[in-house]
Amino acid sequence: MPILRMRDASYVSHGVTLASRVTLDVNPGDRVTLRAASAGEAEAVAMMAAALIHPSSGSVEIGEYDSRVQAAHCKRLVGFVPHDPLPLREMGFDRYIQYRAALWDIDSQRARAVANVLLERLRGMHEAFAYPLVGALVANPAMLVLDRPQPTDREAIAAAAGPCAIFETQFGTEA
């Protein structure tokens, strides 16, 4: 059974169609990249895949859940990594991991230990991009959703994610 199942998922934001009839499946262990026509489409599809926004039409199912009515359950299965880097001046690594652990109700000590291992695997990746990725992975998601990650980080992300399925969006020269 696919972890992510999008069927004709469209997203309209303030009268502008950002994503139009997207259909795709992501199975356990898959690595799927969606090449978007615009930054808005890439962001909209990534957010729909992470149940952060609901499709305007069509359907998005994550695991056994419909993202429109069971978004909180969907979010337990997904680790979302936004496009924007983490402002390191505002939040250090330990503080960020504790914050994420509290939101996902994960044991602090365990989260810290897992985060340090993951950060070690991501050595070489810029911290501002590595921290959000580690934060998403400490909750042990079934699928990692990345909104326009740095193409140069692809191998490092795959190494850190391990058996976790990866769905990423790309746009323009990033693709």
Binding site: K75, P87, L103
Partner: protein, 226 residues
């Protein structure tokens, strides 16, 4: 939502806005000191009572509410994108998140009102605790209504801000002039109606904020970024 998640959201938001809160408290201290408290010599005790309330409540209600609105707007999308993203991607229900996000500016506004009250006290015009409660109720209601301006755009945002102004004006009018017959129970009537009004408006504001947050569109279609 676990208490731990609630605490994490509130403390992280407060920490992120620590400079704004500090600035708000400093401003409240200054305004609390310099706010005029004197009233003209009035022999009629009922008229004097209304005049006292109108002068003494004007400062904390209007000023601290404005601060509450500013602190609520500081939670708007874009300012702290990393917190917005973390909270939105967490397995929380919209109404839980709304409650947690409403607590942070409410605490900050309470702190500002306390500093204002303390400054009044130090300047020799210690407002009665009832006045503080009235001002605080008004600040809470306005702050909760102002949160709606962070999840809407355009006309709806303007409407939310207009409702904030309306809430302060109505709360002030109720606490000062609620007793049209100027009876001996003027204070009690004023306090009761203002508190009831603020409780209802605050509840509706928070409820609407939860709805707005659940349907909030974080993507700006012009730039493609949330």
């Amino acid at each position: 939502m676990t208490r731990r998640a609630l605490r994490a959201i509130v403390t992280t938001r407060l920490w992120a806005e620590r400079r704004a809160i500090l600035f708000a408290c400093a401003t409240a201290a200054i305004v609390g000191f310099i706010q005029p408290h004197g009233i003209a010599a009035i022999t009629d005790p009922l008229t004097a009572d209304v005049a006292t309330r109108s002068v003494w409540l004007a400062g904390p209600m209007f000023f601290c509410s404005a601060i509450g609105v500013a602190l609520a707007l500081a939670q708007g999308p874009g300012r702290r994108g990393y917190l917005d993203s973390g909270e939105r991607s967490a397995p929380l229900f919209g109404r839980e998140l709304a409650r947690a996000k409403a607590i942070a500016p409410s605490i900050a506004a309470t702190l500002t009102a306390l500093v204002y009250w303390f400054a009044q006290y130090l300047s020799g015009f210690a407002a009665p605790p009832t006045f503080f409660v009235l001002a605080l109720a008004c600040v809470y209601a306005t702050t909760l209504v102002a949160l709606n301006a962070t999840v809407y755009r355009g006309g709806k945002r303007a409407l939310a801000l207009g409702l904030c102004a309306g809430t302060v004006a109505a709360a002030y009018a109720l606490s000062v002039y609620a007793d049209p017959l100027q009876t001996q129970r003027g204070d009690a009537i004023g306090v009761a109606t203002e508190l009831a009004f603020c409780a209802i408006v605050g509840f509706l504001g928070l409820r609407q904020y939860g709805e707005g947050l659940a349907h909030f569109d974080p993507i700006d279609p012009s730039t493609g970024s949330g």
